[in-house]
Symmetry: D2
């Protein structure tokens, strides 16, 4: 833009970085350094935004490598801490504080200054999204980038601390701008049109978002709730039922809150806990609006099930196994329905059957597959782990929050997407408010999963038959 043409285009990244990323003040003068020029921050932001993807990666490599910690100084001060160990407390603390300060990367200051500029916080959230992309795409495997990521994440965690967030209820009276964003961000059950979104903010529904004063008009995490008489086992009943769109809520018909969608909108805030806090705040909000609300539960997708199942079936095939996936009578029933030949292998049949969504058109097939798929899915959710925690990311989220894996639902999401991702199954994670704290601690510390009898029963059936 024109504002920059007189200062000349920054000739090179080096020059720009040298100019905008100031040196770390000495420990003694750290409180007396001049308030930095806002124009430096703006110049940095402007320069970065005009880079293409490859340049951004190069730029961030340079920033993290050359403007990070002064390792020599760290060594020197680490030595001093060791030397001071037998001295008095004041000396020890002083040495530690100097060491701590020396471990501050030089770019941390710049990031902090940028947050003070208008639009700066949003810039940093987007910058972190770029960094995460670079890390996950392995376009850089520099350990310095990881350090930059850690520094930025810890700053964002402070700025997006829950005390600084604002809970907003979204209604049909909310600004169009925010409703349009909510529609676009809805990843779980896509919003097709404005009638859809009107329904999701209408009677017997609630939609809440956290916003932040530094990013006005931008919902950070969005939670959709249905107010029902019992815990829902079908998502279409929630998002496609329009009868009630102009009715008034009859409070006596509201007994249960079903969280049927939660979406984070900012990739750059990955790892900054927001969803958990949003659920807790919304529970409080709903309790105050409906003091007699008795049940809180999610109705959640199982995004990884089909992929996992295809993996299992492929592997069995290679290993020529197959027993354990289907029981004998299940396999026979399936053959009867599909008219398959006797020499077909169950895993092959199943794999072929599930690779399109055709099977759902046959009621008999749907019935025939139910027991096996329910069993497998229960195991996937309950038994499959990554570093000890639930492999399924949605399961992991709710279990961290202290929910109970409560009910697996057959034919709960019959949209093409639902069939493709999880053979149409969905799961309720139930929030027993008295137990979430204990459950959360147990899960995080001992990796114990709390589950209902239905889920445990399915898991037990799986284990009995499985030779996995």
């Amino acid at each position: 833009s024109q504002r920059w043409q007189h200062s000349g285009p920054a000739k090179s990244m080096e020059e720009l970085l040298r100019r905008t990323v100031g040196p770390l003040p000495t420990y003694e003068t750290r409180e007396k350094s001049p308030v930095p020029l806002e124009s430096s921050s703006i110049e940095f932001m402007h320069f970065y935004r005009n880079l293409d993807k490859a340049q951004k990666s190069e730029f961030l490599d340079k920033l993290s490598l050359e403007f990070g910690v002064d390792h020599g100084q760290v060594l020197e001060l680490a030595g001093k801490v060791l030397d001071a160990q037998l001295r008095d407390a004041a000396t020890v603390l002083q040495a530690e504080d100097r060491l701590r300060y020396s471990l501050t990367p030089r770019y941390r200051q710049l990031l902090s200054h940028i947050s003070r500029v208008e639009g700066g916080v949003k810039f940093l959230v987007d910058l972190r999204a770029d960094i995460l992309d670079i890390i996950s795409s392995k376009s850089s495997d520099s350990p310095h980038i990881r350090d930059l990521n850690g520094t930025l994440k810890s700053l964002l965690s402070e700025w997006f601390s829950v005390g600084l967030l604002c809970l907003e209820r979204i209604t049909w009276q909310s600004p169009c701008e925010i409703l349009q964003k909510i529609s676009q961000y809805e990843a779980v059950h896509p919003v097709r049109n404005w009638t859809d979104i009107k329904r999701r903010v209408g009677p017997y529904r609630r939609c809440y978002a956290f916003t932040h004063s530094a990013m006005p008009g931008e919902p950070l995490v969005v939670l959709h709730v249905a107010l029902t008489q019992e815990i829902s086992n079908n998502i279409q009943a929630i998002v496609r039922e329009f009868a009630a769109v102009d009715s008034e809520e009859d409070i006596s018909e509201i007994n249960t809150a079903v969280f049927y969608s939660i979406s984070s909108t900012q990739t750059g805030l990955q790892g900054v806990e927001l969803g958990n806090y949003l659920i807790k705040r919304v529970v409080r909000e709903l309790q105050s609006e409906f003091p007699h609300l008795a049940q809180f539960s999610s109705l959640s997708p199982i995004p990884g099930f089909s992929t996992w199942l295809q993996g299992i079936l492929s592997q069995h095939r290679k290993e020529s196994r197959g027993a354990g996936v289907l029981l004998e009578q299940e396999w026979e029933e399936l053959q009867a329905v599909t008219g398959g030949e006797a020499r077909d292998k169950p895993t092959d049949s199943l794999r072929r059957l599930l690779c399109t969504n055709e099977w759902v058109r046959s009621e008999r097939l749907v019935r025939a597959l139910e027991p096996a798929l329910m069993r497998l899915c229960a195991w996937y959710l309950y038994g499959e782990k990554r570093r000890g925690y639930a492999l399924d990311p949605v399961a992991n989220f709710h279990l961290q929050n202290g929910a109970t894996m409560w009910r697996l639902n057959w034919q709960a999401d019959t949209s093409p997407r639902g069939i493709t991702n999880s053979c149409g199954m969905m799961v309720n994670y139930r929030y027993y408010l008295q137990e979430t704290t204990a459950n959360s601690a147990a899960y995080l510390q001992t990796k114990a999963v709390t589950a209902s009898e239905q889920v445990l029963g399915l898991v037990a059936q799986f284990q009995k038959n499985s030779k996995l």
Copy 2:
């Protein structure tokens, strides 16, 4: 309050601290630690609030001493950093990151959790005020308390980062609650009644405050501005002139913005830069409202002058000096007016004269004292230093912001308070917007003070005559 009575009164500080200040998770599990119980934070806050002053001091001593850094671990990890120095970057960075993590005091986590609770941020601001009080009153000289102070300050700095602050213009339409607070907080030129405050938010005046979403309704720093035709040299003309209270602003009569009062309201935010940012934001705001505004200046008190002068005079007296304070003809004139005897010493006379506010009633005395007091005051502001920076705190604030010491004004504040504090003088620190950045850097880095010819002239007169 009753909510706590069933859990039993915390038997002792130790027990409470052990229960509420959790251990620091290990480095490996630091992202997997359970979200802490909100009730722990609330219990901590409640317990602390019910302590008396001495108990608070004891409690904070304990907290800072026993729940700080694990020094043993720091030593171990500092050793590892030294060991890793010749290894690859990834290893070095990893060792540094572990060391950095080990330097986190255990209580830092708790402080962070408290900030998430309703009212938590305000609690921490007030907690820091207590800590500062303990430190300054020497009721504890523990170096650990200083560490706690440093940790808390750095957290508050992030939470009160300018990007998270909200600029509010205060008018007669603002909520009564906030206007009452603004009145109470006004420390520089006290608000006597509601007509006073109505005037200060009325025509030809502006009042701005920073607020923060975590402390709604609480102005953090307040700036009062007068919109005038020239840079004011008298505060009574600003705060006591009521003719215009119901008039409409005539934009053609507005040429200058005079910042005549800036007050921080939260002791606990000491050292967190707010005033400087507020002035900058207000300048932008005013420029957008009045594009033709040509001059920006403060009209500031000189809170330390009289005390300093009395100190000088006492010292001269002890050392039997006196020459240099008054010129020969000034001394003669003074004797003529007061009818003093020839053998009186000038310093004694002056000291006696200034120890009450009576002298201002005599026009002749006022005239007689002007040259000497102006000279002395110019020197006090420009020449007297503390660790190299201006001794006068208001001067130091504006010079840090990059203002120029522009004009010393005689009989600028004729209120009893003004006479007592600074013999009625006030000073304009002028903001030349093109130069504030350079001035600020020069002052902070080389301690150079930018001043006008008037001020420098007075300083030169002082230096010529002084034998200080």
Copy 3:
């Protein structure tokens, strides 16, 4: 103001009126008349505002006399209605409509146009206040002025119809401007300072006002409510009790709503029903906030009692009567306390006693006077009439609303004002919500007053003894 100088000062009222008060369009073109010039309305308003009081009176006389109804045309069209009486309905209705139109005063159009201009509605409210003042001060006894008054009142009644009013709850968060106005307007129990008003909008208190979109920031009628455990019998307990100013409301302690002050702020809206509607709206508002609220009552002043009593006593004196005011033993007791002589007449003594507020200092006198004054006051409220309705204006207001005259309270307002106006008595008008409609109709149509046994008992005592 300068806008008018080019059009020249209006040379005379006549010229101005002729220019700004257009002729009434003919019946045929009444819907096709050009939208009037806004500048005419503004010129009229400006001209009127610059007149002094006597000129205003003259101006309004002229306006009402010369720009009213065209009497000749009325006669003609009245004749046509008579002629049409045996014709078909269409002809009759047409004749009536023409007659109705001809009865429109020419100035009605102008008033209507003024209401469309910014500030116009407020101008007309103030204009009506002037007209009422002229009428009541007899500075004009023109019947035309009364017609102008009627026309303006009927227009104001439509514009200030309840559907167009906005109920606002006033709190300590409301704009200072509105709270200052509420304080100034409070006529019943004057607000002394900002602590007073803070109390009246604080916990266990409610303050509501009707505002109107055409007069923003201007409360039209204000109702103060105390939320209590029982129906209050003392006003100082409500307006001087500050213990609770920072406490939180304990909903379990709220059982009763006491309307302790209602003030209309706009003289010009006299006769436009607002207070009645405000009470009804507030009752609904309170019921929705506190569903268990069981009692609604006023605690009302008795503004005319003392004046009425002095009148009675004077008259008795002249007529040398006295019996009936005090019972024998009351008279004796009084003499005992005051040490009066036997030949004093009771009415004289009483008159002297009550003409200052000294008597309230003597507990014995207070006790001695209670039965007689309670009896007299009950009669004053219940029995004294003006055109068949209660003489006391406050009584008349609440009885019209359908309230019951419920309890007369001794020593209920011990402020000097309260003693002077009503010997310290106040009365509760109780709103039994199921009965107000019937009560209101009964009072308005048959002039029947609903009263409690306490009041009726006092009235009966009075009647028994009275020889009035």
Copy 4:
């Protein structure tokens, strides 16, 4: 709804009307009648809403016939006015006032009470829409219905007086609800989707509406404005141009305000002047935002042109005329393009050509038809009258407002709708702010139309050739 079941269903209209439409109080007690029961109004509204269309018509017939004016009393009081004609002013005015009061229909009171109930004003607006429908569909030709209509209109005119309306600017930040309504109401250039509406409230566009405090969230009349460099001659350039949807406005490119759509949304407010006032308010609003705005103009449809033209052509055909519609060379050119035969009649050809929208596909046809259609259309707008005023309703609206018929534009609306209604032509009515008042008065009083040279030139060409 259930609230009514206990009071029993109203057995008949008669009973309901008798119960809810009270008698008119006598003249003497007119200010002392009890405030009516809100429940009566609610019952009336509820009853009416549940009627079907035919029942509503019957009901309104009954209401207007049986609860209107007391004709006997009118006769009596008309007589008294005649008798009083030689008496003093007070007697005359009194007689007139009684007569005026007697001319109040009994149902007027009820309508007034309904306006005080929540939702009552909206009910009355919709009621009037029903009445207008009955009148225009001749489903009742009762003169009493017309009286009811007149009474209701005059009440609505007072309640929707401009001083009581609120101007709202609609933006993408406005509530979704209101933007959806604005989209639905847009009758002139239909809004196809949410991108369309986003554009119409985005940069270089303004959208304003009047709302009313008694009908919150309901825009009454909506004005769309384009901010351009010159007066637009094409509507697609305004409503289909999306380049600028996310750009920022460059104030230096804004010179002209084009009103390209104005829609009234409430049939029931027919005849209540709103659009004229909205345009005036918006002009003021725009002038204050863009002090240098130099030109104000509409870009307006010509809804009646094609229908009128087809009428003309049919008539010519019947009368075997044809000359005057097309010039000789125009007719030859047309034949050349269409390949028509020599014996075809011009009017027939033209009629056939224009009865579909095919002709716009041929550039040559478009060129060939331009002069004739422009000439005809100019005449239609300027010369065709109904009761002396412009026949075209849009022309009539802008001429009443004082605009000048400024420029007829060829191919200005190439949408199917535009071609069908007006052969693609649109017209600019230009608002010369200094002249609108005089123009408006001239038009309304003398029916004179102000037009530009372009329009007058076209009209002159038409007149020269026409044998109409």
